[in-house]
Structure formats: structure tokens, C-alpha cells
Symmetry: D2
Subunit: 390 residues, 4 copies
């Protein structure tokens, strides 16, 4: 860890109360490196639940708020030595835009879960606010936080594979193989509800991760797509599956598929990229391994490890342990928080950030994700073969 | 091996002379179980080359022919005790139809390489000849010969996964990442030449294998497709890459991709099928392993082994060795020859064949393959989203 | 997380200053669940270094101590509302016994790194102190913290494999393939120095982990061993490699090997156990996977995931994430801290602990480890075939 | 295939009749490349069974013999143009020596199954006969026939790993986890019978394979061993399990274990070798893959493929297919027959053999195996720690 400030950053959380999944993930990620402390929160739209949640997190009673509006306002009025530095927004999609906008407008940096907003229009407005306030926004596309994803990106950007020709990205899950939302499952409930998730289900929840991973790892942009979008489980209100043909801005082509009805799969996001001389393959469930396959040499297995000198600086910066000590999802998530924290500290102390600290997703990736959602759903409903993204 | 005839079957070969790849594969496959002997051949359109090839295979001089026409005629005139029982056709695609038709019309059964013919029209005419002659035709879609593919098919047909919802089939290769056909490589030369291969390159050579595997393993039929077909390497005359969205006759959807420019990949055909309760995954490069993933139970690894009682009879019938003794591509290929031989022997001896012997691809699969080729190329050239297969 | 106390536990650290490896691991592990806060430390025998280390951890100046003796004494004199609850000892082996003993005698619980002490005699004396003070001691045999290790143990204890017959445990590393201690590497320096490590190098550092894993996962005890102990790299003062034949108290036999000169290996601890009907295999570098191989059924792959109902309660209690979200070394380490914390809180609040909380290594495992070290080195030097452990 | 003779070699088989396992393996291996034809056999000590077996192999009635003595004598009296060139001996161990000796003394080359003889004394006498007759003897240590084993050997002999320090070789099987010999299983019956197998069970059947693999792949010799030999299943007459500490003639050390009671394992022979700079790992059940792990570079995966130019000539010579087309146990076995056949042909035609053809196990490896058996059993019964092999 690079440290140059004499205190931890102070985080306030919006959402993530009892029964939530992603809130505790964010808190562990924020805690991991000892650079951030949770100082306040509005953990639920239900004030009693917010209180209980805050108490279980050992927060002082007066820093547990009934609403995020309340939190943002009251924290603003605290002294600089006391008030939170940033908010972490971990609510369902329909409660992303407003708290983010308010936080920014009150001078707080923002970490927020993806997809960035409820729809593309909100995303564009939020970009305006980020631009206007010149504050820092981190969007938690977790999979970009893995060291071996960063290694793959560096290999590709450095031209090790030659021009990129093919990109295959997949995200099969099986957890929505049945009508789970009918059983009271909290995650299934909001993720399949168009009023909370937006126009897409599977494509918004995990399709955006896949699209982001494809663009991040290659440095390319999807320019056209052709989608087959399905609602496989009867009674479901949003898509739970889709397959998409892709065209990229350098002429490469590819396939993206995401499914939440691939029974037996857990969280098997993976990506393959092929260039003129070789290809890479990364599977999140074996996250510490990056396969590099060459047309004319033996395949390589690169592995995480902060003692592996053959790895890129970008990979090493995002690795905590020596080789052979597996790191996982929480560490990848913590890398987003760590780089965000380094940037916020640099801002506070008016220092020059390093290249490595800038490497986390933000509002640009947020807009790309919302554009993907809009166009992939449009394509799914269309008889036209190719739909442009622009 | 089940044996009930007092002699080996006699095979004549068309094609497969010096420098050919697939001819020796067919010969090893035919030899493996000691039920078939090569008795004659027309190994090349170049008579001197045919002679040299036949001699190196220890054939008597008078059974090495200058042309296949010559072979078919002269063998017909030999005594029943001497003449070949069947021909094996291992020539490029444009020399499939005529030798097959002539062989059948002279009373010889046929084994032939895929795709079955140069175009769909020829395939339909060949079906007529098969129907008219009532002889046996085996089309070497090799991958259906693997025991674990048969195991997967049995699991699916028996309903172990519930209704099938998703099918992903892939066939990445890297060998045509450069303009190999400009270097004098014999395989690359004819496989990228529209006069020898037909209207498709990659889609004909390996796309058909992938489509066949998807249909074989599920017992379903592709009804619609939407394809992105590419010629990635400059100067190439046929497609070397393609990705296809699929719809199946039970309502399932899927993706097929095949590429010969996936640099670093060798022959990585693989398939995943998901039903209501679980999924299967099979990768040819780890052919002895079948993964079965369940939504509510630990995943299973099934492995080849004629001592593994949990395997289906269909898998066991196509396995030569106890568990832990890997079988490979040649054994899968030999399974096609073995089942074909068992059927031919049953025909000769007028015995009732067993269900297991019938389980090899024939003229139906050949027509499905040609239909796939025509439609996938049509779709690649079309702005229409979905093209029907019928 | 189960929480029932109204504050975090307070930790003081001994060792783990600048340049140390394992200190930050302990701190991350302690931080991860938000139940423990670092309140003080004596991070180095060099006071200036201790200060710098404490400041970089945002500790108040007056809680950064020059020596551990100082820390223990001064913390003892603080009010109950302020003083640390326990110490975490992360010094080289020769500075384990004294701080642990002093901490216990001043009423502080202890977490400490393995091996427990410099020699067996110290370990026995420390056991006496633990018994006398009735305080809680956690020894960080990290690998027992992995959920799939716990799952394997439960399968075995529940008799799923029948009587245990064979145990193979391995720990190959390659980092000492050269005379690294001659280059100023801090870890290599003390780990190969008999004055700091004790009588064993490789066997003490990682052999003890392997022996502990074998005993933990089976619930058995090693009763006899026969060792081949080597110093492979010239100039090294302690063993860097060894292989050991094992006999267990139920009649099972096995092999343990550990090496720090297996060039190319990182941290590849793994274990296989076979019983009458099947076996298990776990590899730390693929920690989220447990293979269960059956003689008469397909092999199973069990995977971590707090939503995997087929897993044992013991595995689920030690899992933070849903299936498909890899957990790693830090989470395994944090499980030790979490269970220790739950036990300490139960003690403070005088509540009944749950079975799951008791499941971490302590002084018994510490003595087993020291006994292993003494006997394995004795065997390495002996012409006698079998040496008893008792 | 390199071919320079105008006919196939002629093989006679001893043993391998109905119900045998390894006989058909030998026949497939011999057939595979079309260079060898089975011309006669004495397939069983039961003449009626021998007849039935020979008929099912389409042999002429007069070349199916009642006894091997009869076969050797009668074939000797046939014309050079007709008589067999060599015998293949696939009987239980107690019927190895005599037929091999008689065949050699009648001028026939020999292929025979391992272990070479019933005891070391017989092996030494057989070596004398081989020396006296100057004929060719191939001992089917199958695992040395795999291309990736040859690749590993070449890497090691070429010094790619530096001096060799550690060798771990394992052979776990589970098929004798129960008292299978009490159920009428033919293989189990003779392999656990000291009158047929010799002094060792597991150590003779598979321990010798492991020892041979370790010596072959490294080019080293075991000089000392210390063994723990067990009979795990009650009622069994020979060992079914053992673990052995090894010392090699260059100072390297290692471990060998073999077990037939590792329930759940099929035929999992594997080997790891570590030198100064890296290590190799090969697992027979994933035979087409060779892992090469480097201390300072990414690990490599080498794969079979006669189009993989990075492989050694020795590996390429023993490969039939392009990369991505898996080869297996039968192909490895066939490599032994192929190299033997090339050597016999070279002898017949008085040509200079190539280096690659010489690369198969013979009487030297046979004596090494018998020495291993004698010493490992002696060690298992001894209180002495180390037993020398000499």
C-alpha cells in the first residue's frame, strides 16, 4: 500500500442493510486494506432496519440515518475533520441516480454498484454532474479488479497478440433456473422487477459485466450488435438469457452470451480474446490463472503473485500475496476501493496520481453499460440484424 | 468385439495417398479392431502416386488402381470371395458424390468423409441412391464416436437434465491464422478453394462438425439461424470464421461458433447443454471426461472406462479400455468403423442388428450438414435476422 | 456474521513491522469481518521502525510501543473499556514463547503464528500457561480455515469414505531453490537461521502445516514416521526438503513431503485421503474445489458457496460468498480470526459457544507440530527406520 | 511411418486368449500402424480355448497352436517366407521366462509384458540369452511410449531444468479396494497369487511401472530405497500398497508410491521431476499435456501434435496426429510395437537404425524392475532404513 495521508478515508453507505447481499461485499472490500472506515450510513428505506443494521456495524447512533437525503445533508454540515469523504451506493438500480447526484452535488465522491442508473438518460445526466463537480466516481465492475484481467489487458494493449480478431465473452449462471422471485428471495425479487431493475433483467445484471469485461480487456468498443434475448422461465417479467453477436471498432467480431438459466453454473464469467499470433483465456472461477495460448510456442499459464516478476506492473499493483496464495472476488472488489481511495487521497492532498490508481471503472463505463442495455434489448425485439451502438 | 462372421470385411479406399492427412486416419480406424482389411485402393488422381501409396500399404500390385472408376468396375467383376465389401472415400469434397454414387450403384457399402458432398443438391441425390440401393453409408462425423459424447446424449435423451433450454457449441482452431494456402500446404490449399470445398470454408470444414454435434448430443434439430460469417485473413477465398445464433425445434436456443483463426487453439471442439436441472460439458481435447453440473448437487465427472458400471450401455459399447487408460481421436474414429462393420456384417449374414450398432452418422446427417452450410452462408450474406432451415 | 457484543474486539500486535510478510496478512484477516480493530502494537525490536509502522497503520502515537514487554504492561494498566482484548504474535519463532506467556499471564488472549514455539519444551510450558490462565489461544494453521478443508473433514468424520486407509499430504514450494538468504531477503534470512527458526527449516516452516493438515482433515494422529531430510542448496544451515513415511493411530499409512527447492512450485500444499469406498483430494491453489472420487460412482466436485445446501454446516459457517465467487487465502486466514473472535466474545459475555466457533487450531495443535519437528529431524538423522511420536 | 521392407512383420502370440485383458491391447497396438500382422498364436494353456481365440482372430486353423512350445517348434520349421518373425508374450508372470527363452533360442525376437520374469534370477538368465542370441527384446513398459513422456525426458536430458534434485512418482489405483480375487475376477486372481505373480503384488504390477518411469524420464538410477509395504485388504496374499523413499545415483532424492486400494482412483500414474530452475509434471490420465513449471517464468503447457514444431524429434516421432487430436494408451502402446518393428526390420534388412527406433524398454529395464521388486519387498520386511539396489 502506498500511503501518504495521516488518516483513513471516511465512508458513508446508502443501502446494504439486513438481508442485502452486495452491501457487506462493499464493506469488506472497503475494510480490507485498512485505508477506509465506515463512519455513517442510511442502510434501508425502512428507518428501523437502517438503525439495526448500523448498530450491528458498531456505528454511533447519530451517524445512522433514516434516509440518504438526510445523511447527505447532515454529513455536509459536519466539520471537515469529521464528515464522510465519500458515499457507497449499494441500492437496487432505481435508487442509483438520485443519491449519486445528490452526493456529488454536496461535494462527496461516489462509489456505486452497476449498472450505473435505471436508464441511459439518467446515466447521461449523471455524467454531466460528475463533469460539473469534478469529483471521483467509481462504478464497481468487479471483474476488472482481478490482477489477471489486468495482466491480460496489458498483454493485449502492448500488442503481444497482434491485432485483435475475435472476442468471446460469457456469463452463465443458473440461479434463476426456477421462478425464484415467487419464493420471496430478495435478490431475485428486485432483479426481475422492471420497476427496480430497469428495462433488462439478465442483460442488465450480468450482460453489462460481460460487455464491460470485453471492452476493458481489449481496449476496444462494441459498435454493432445482433441479439437473441429470451425469457426462459415462465412467469418472469424480464429477460433471463441472451446471446449477442458483436462487432468492434477495430473490425474484430465476437460473441457475448449471458444466462441466468444455465442450470448448474454458479458465476462462470469468462473471456477469450484472439489476435494474430495467440489468444488469452480467463475464467473468473479460476481467477488466479491466465492462459496465454500461442500459435507457435507452448501455451503459458500466468499466475497471480506479487513476487512474480514476469507480471505487468498493473497486475502487481493489484496483488496482495505471493504466488500460490489464492486471491478471490473480495480482493478484486477491494482493488476497486483501493484505487478509488488512492485517487481520493491524491485529490485531497493535491498530489499527482499514478497511472495504476486511475485504473477503475467510472462514469464512462457506466454510460457504455446503459447503452449496451438499451441496444441489446432493442435488438432482441427487432427483426433488423445489426443495431449500432452510438 | 462382437464377431459372428468368419472373415474380415474387405475395404477399398478412394483418395488418401501420399501427403494426405485423413486417409491414414481412416486406415488406422479401420484396422484398429482387426475386423477390416484394406484390400485395394485408388489413392490419387495421379496413377504413379496411387501406385506408390498402395505399395507402401503392402497391397498387391493388381489391386492398386489408377482411378476410382476403374477400381469400382474391376472390383465388381471379382468373385464374391475376393472383392471388396465397401469403399472408404477420403477425397476433397468435390470428389465425394460421384465415387459414392458409383460405389453404391455397384453394390458396395460406403464410408465417406464429411461434408457429404459439394452441395446440398448432390446430397439429396445421394440420399436417393442410398434409398434405392438399400446399402449402408457411414459419414465420419468423428466426434459422435467418443464414448463420453454418447454418454451425454443418453443422459439428455433419458431426461436427466429435464427439458433442454440452452446449447452452446464451439469449434475454435488456429491453423489458418495466416495465409497458409499460399505456402503450398496441401490441406490448406483445397480447404480454402471454393472449387474443391464448396461454398463454405470454415463453416463447411468444422462448422458442420459443430452443428452435427449439437444435434446429435441433444436429439434436437436446428430450425433457424442468424450468422455472422467472416473472412479474417486477407487474400483468403472462403470464410475462415463465423458465429451463429441458433433456435431449435423444441424452443431451445443456442450459439455455435467456429473459427480457424483463433490463434493458439488446436482442435478445441466442445459443447455445453443446459436443461431445467443441470447441464453437461464436453471438450474434445479432454475427451475422456464428461462434466455434469447440477443446480442442487455437487457436479459430477464421468469418465470413460469399460469397467465403469454407472455409464450407459451406449458409452460402454464404444469403449475399449478400463478406466484411467485414455482413449482418443483414433478410437472415436474407429468406433464409427466398428459400428459400420457390425452393420455390414449383420447385413451380409442377414442378422438382426443391435441398437448400439446403428449409432453412427449417415446420409440424414449428411443432408443436415449441407443444409446448415447453405443456410449459414446465406445468413452471413443477408440483412435478414433469422433464416429458417427446412 | 453472528454478533452479540456492542463493540469490536481490540487487538494489539507484536511484530509485523515494515518489510514483514505475515504481519499484514494477520491484519487483513483481523479486519475482514469488521469485528476486530487494531488498537496498539509493538511492531519491531527497533523502536523507530515500530513507530513508523504504527503510524502507517493510523495508530495513536501513545499506543505504539517500543517493546512487547512495554505494551503488555501498559495495556494492562488501561481501563477495561480501552485496553486491548488480545495480542497477535507474528514474530520469528524464537520470539513466540515469551510474548505469548506474558500476554496470557497479564490476562490477554493470544493469536500466534506457527510453529507455536522455538522447541517442544517451550510448547509444553506454554500449554501449562494456557491451562493455568484458561484463556484462548489460536495458532494460525491457515489451511484449516478453508471451507473445503472443513467439508473434507466433515465427510471423513461422518464416515462417508469408510475407514481411512491412505493419507498423502504434500507441500512443494520453490522459493528457496537458490541461496536466497545470501541476498538479504528477510523471510529467507530468519527461516533458514537455526537461531531464529529452531532445529528445522523446511520441516518447521511448511512440514508442520502439512502434518497439521493431515491430522486435522482425518481426525487421526501420526504415531510413527520415517524421514529422509535434506539440505539441497549448498551453504544452507537448515533442511530445505524432506519426505516422510507415516503411520497413523487407526492403522492407516501415508506419505508427507515438503520441499522448498521444488523449483517452479509456488505454495502447492495439497492432500489426498482414501478410505474403503472413495477418496478426497484438495489443492490449496484451487482452494474452492474439493474432489470426491468414488470407486463405484462418478467423481464429485464440491465447491464453496454459502448458497450450496449440500455442503456441511461447518463449511457454510466459514464461507462468505455465494458459489462461483472465489474465496482465497485471506478469507481462510480470516476464518481463524473470526472463530477466535466469536470465542473471545462468548467468553467476555459469558455465553455458550457454538460448535463451529471452536473449530480453530490451538495449543494442542501447537504441541503436535513441535513433536513432529523434533521427531522428523531425529528420524532424518537416524539409521533406525521408524520413530514413534509420543 | 518409415517403411523400407516389402512386407509386414509376422507376429505370433503366446497367451491373450478369451477373457484376458492385456492380449487384445497388444494386438491393437501391433495392428495400429499396419506394419505387423498376427499370423499364429498359442492363446491359452487350454487348447480348446486357444482354438476358439485364434478363430475369432481369423487365423488359419493350422497356425493356432495348443502350446507355446508347439508353436515355437512348428513355426521354426516353416519357410522363412512364412514363419513368424517374433513372438508377443502376454501370459501371467510365471509364464514369461520359459517362452521368451525358447523363442529367442529358436531365433525369434520377443515382445513381452512386464515384469520381465517371475524373479530376478530368471531375469538375469534371460539377459544372458538375449546377449547370446543377439536378438531384440521389447518389454512393454507402456508409459514410456507416450510422446509427452519422451518430451519430458528430452527436456531433462538436455539440461533444461538444470541438475535434477527431486523425483516424485505415483501410481494410485482403486480396483483392489475389496477382495476382488474372491469373486472370480481373472485379473485379480493371478495378480494377487504369489505362485503366478511372484513375490510382489502391487509393487510388481504397478510399482515397477512407477520405478521404470522415474528412471526413464530422468535417465537416473535408483540406488537406495526405504519402503513401507502393506497388505491393506484382509485375506489378500500379496501386498496391495506401498510407499518408498528413494535415492538416485546423482544425489537426487524422491518418493515413489503405488497403491491398488486408493478407492476412487483408476490408473493415475504420474510423475514430477524438479531441477535447479524448474520442474515437469505429467499425468497419464491427461497424457497429451506436459506441464513445465519455471521458477522465473510463466509455466508452460506442452501438448502432443505432430505439427508442433517446438517439440523434440523424439516426441514427434511417436505422435500420429496433429495437435488437438488426443492420443491415448493404445497409441502409446503402439509406439513400443512400432519402434520394435522398425528395429526388427532394420535387422532383417541389415540397415542402420535411427536413434528414435532404439527408444523402447528391453532386458536392461527388465532387470531393473526385478531388482526393484526384490529390494522393495526386502525393505518392507526390514527394520533397516536404507537398502541398496545393486
Amino acid at each position: 500500500m502506498i500511503i501518504f495521508m495521516d488518516r483513513k478515508l471516511r465512508m458513508g453507505m446508502i443501502g446494504g442493510g439486513e438481508g442485502a447481499f452486495i452491501g457487506e461485499i462493499h464493506r469488506i472490500a472497503a475494510r480490507m486494506d485498512g485505508q477506509i472506515e465506515l463512519v455513517c450510513g442510511a442502510f434501508s428505506s425502512n428507518p428501523a432496519k437502517s438503525k439495526r443494521s448500523g448498530e450491528s456495524l458498531y456505528l454511533p447512533f447519530d451517524r445512522i440515518y433514516d434516509t440518504y437525503q438526510d445523511m447527505i445533508e447532515k454529513e455536509s454540515s459536519l466539520s471537515e475533520a469529521e464528515r464522510m469523504d465519500f458515499v457507497s451506493i449499494v441500492t437496487p438500480n432505481h435508487v442509483h441516480f438520485d443519491p449519486a447526484k445528490q452526493a456529488l452535488e454536496h461535494g462527496f465522491h461516489v462509489v456505486m454498484d452497476k449498472p450505473i442508473t435505471f436508464d441511459l438518460n439518467e446515466a447521461r445526466k449523471l455524467k454531466q454532474t460528475v463533469d460539473d463537480t469534478n469529483l471521483i466516481l467509481c462504478l464497481t465492475h468487479t471483474y476488472t479488479g482481478y490482477p489477471m484481467v489486468k495482466e491480460a489487458r496489458q498483454l493485449i494493449l502492448n500488442g503481444a497478440l497482434g491485432d485483435i480478431r475475435k472476442i468471446y465473452v460469457e456469463y452463465p449462471q443458473g440461479w434463476l433456473s426456477t421462478l425464484l422471485e415467487a419464493t420471496g428471495n430478495k435478490q431475485a425479487d428486485w432483479k426481475t422487477d422492471p420497476d427496480k431493475s430497469g428495462m433488462a433483467g439478465c442483460m442488465g445484471d450480468i450482460g453489462t459485466h460481460a460487455a464491460n469485461l470485453a471492452e476493458y480487456i481489449t481496449g476496444l468498443e462494441i459498435t454493432k450488435l445482433c441479439a437473441d434475448i429470451n425469457t426462459v422461465v415462465e412467469g418472469r417479467k424480464l429477460d433471463d438469457d441472451g446471446s449477442v453477436l458483436l462487432k468492434f471498432n477495430n473490425g474484430a467480431t465476437g460473441v457475448l452470451f449471458a444466462s441466468q438459466v444455465a442450470a448448474g453454473e454458479a458465476n462462470n464469467i469468462n473471456v477469450r480474446v484472439y489476435g494474430e499470433t495467440g489468444g488469452i483465456e480467463w475464467k473468473q472461477e479460476e481467477a488466479n490463472k491466465l492462459q496465454v495460448k500461442w500459435q507457435d510456442k507452448p501455451a503459458e499459464i500466468r499466475r497471480t503473485g506479487n513476487d512474480k516478476n514476469y507480471l505487468s506492473g498493473m497486475a502487481l499493483h493489484n496483488t496482495r500475496l505471493p504466488a500460490g496464495h489464492p486471491e478471490g472476488y473480495l480482493e478484486a472488489f477491494a482493488n476497486l476501493y483501493r484505487n478509488f481511495a488512492l485517487m481520493v487521497k491524491a485529490r485531497i492532498e493535491d498530489k499527482q496520481p499514478k497511472q495504476e490508481w486511475l485504473d477503475f471503472p467510472g462514469v464512462y463505463e457506466g454510460i457504455r453499460g446503459m447503452l449496451f442495455i438499451e441496444k441489446v434489448i432493442e435488438s432482441g425485439n427487432s427483426d433488423k440484424k445489426w443495431i449500432g451502438l452510438s
